[in-house]
């Protein structure tokens, strides 16, 4: 999950934020990291670029991008499916 946090920081240009500043279960949007709708699009780009995962159903977004842990679980499940 530390790698994923580093990738999120790089993709969203969250300068002054370190991987250890982001809790595994900290909400990414609104009250947590304070990400916005453009950041959500950037996270979709991150999944495509880094993990070759296309978020096919937009309605899955809020669940997948809830926290770093939910993102990691989604990536792991997707990789297992395609193994």
């Amino acid at each position: 999950m530390s790698d994923l946090k580093s990738q999120i920081i790089a993709q969203l240009n969250l300068q002054d934020t370190k991987p250890e500043d982001i809790g595994d279960d900290q909400p990414l949007f609104v009250e947590g990291l304070g990400l916005d709708s453009i950041d959500a699009l950037e996270l979709i780009v991150l999944l495509q670029q880094q993990y070759k995962i296309k978020l096919s159903n937009a309605e899955d977004g809020p669940k997948v991008f809830q926290t770093v842990r939910t993102m990691a679980e989604y990536i792991t499940a997707h990789q297992a499916q395609n193994a």
């Binding site: 969203l12 240009n13 969250l14 300068q15 002054d16 304070g34 453009i38 950041d39 699009l41 950037e42 780009v45 495509q48 670029q49």
Partner: protein, 208 residues
């Protein structure tokens, strides 16, 4: 109709130097534009995480505005609808347009796409300070002080605005210039009349 307005503050960022009211307040010679902008942000101890996500044009205009208003402006004196922003430049958002175009060859960047309009810098300043007054962004070959004087005076003298941030904010590659002026109806210490001659004088003093 009142016709005299005043330049009550200025901020010019160019040639690796930041000037506030015609006095140098920060200098960083050995850095390219992105690093220079971050150095200004840190030097003035600004706290605004969204700054890091902006493109260079918005960062430059946003920083210029922060320094322009610092210790110079009582925003509580005015309603948000009475504070306007009128900016201009030569290169529109071309600096970011080119970078965005490069990303479209692999995967288009939504974060860059949102900055592919020059007036976004006005939006960033307005969000920061909750300004809701009239705003406009014009493209000229060079800083047209006569036009800016006429346009902004018209807004203020017709009571569409009570005060206005105006000037020039331009970026292309490592070429940059932010020349911002605060225009108000009332005189303040060291203010000068809002005329194109005075805009030119302050602009040229720092820009050669």
């Amino acid at each position: 109709m009142k016709t005299e307005n005043y330049i009550t503050a200025s901020c010019i960022i160019s040639n690796h130097i930041v000037c506030k009211n015609e006095q140098p307040v920060f200098e960083e010679r050995n850095s390219d534009l992105p690093d220079f902008l971050i150095a200004i942000y840190r030097h003035f101890n600004l706290q605004y995480p969204k700054f890091h996500k902006m493109d260079n044009l918005s960062k430059l205009g946003w920083l210029g505005n922060e320094i322009l208003l610092q210790d110079s402006f009582e925003k509580e004196k005015h309603k948000p609808e009475d504070i306007g922003i009128v900016l201009s430049n030569a290169n529109s958002s071309l600096d970011t347009d080119i970078k965005y175009y490069e990303t479209t060859k692999t995967m288009a960047s939504p974060a860059q796409f949102v900055y592919t309009l020059p007036n976004i810098v006005i939006g960033e300043i307005s969000i920061r300070h909750h300004f809701k007054g009239e705003n406009a962004f014009f493209i000229f070959d060079s800083f047209d002080t006569g036009f800016i004087e006429q346009y902004v005076s018209n807004l203020i003298n017709n009571n569409i605005l009570q005060c206005c941030i105006c000037g020039w904010v331009d970026v292309l590659d490592n070429e940059y210039n932010a020349s911002l002026f605060l225009i108000e109806k009332d005189k303040s210490a060291n203010s000068v009349n809002f005329t194109k001659e005075n805009l030119n004088k302050i602009y040229q003093l720092q820009n050669g």
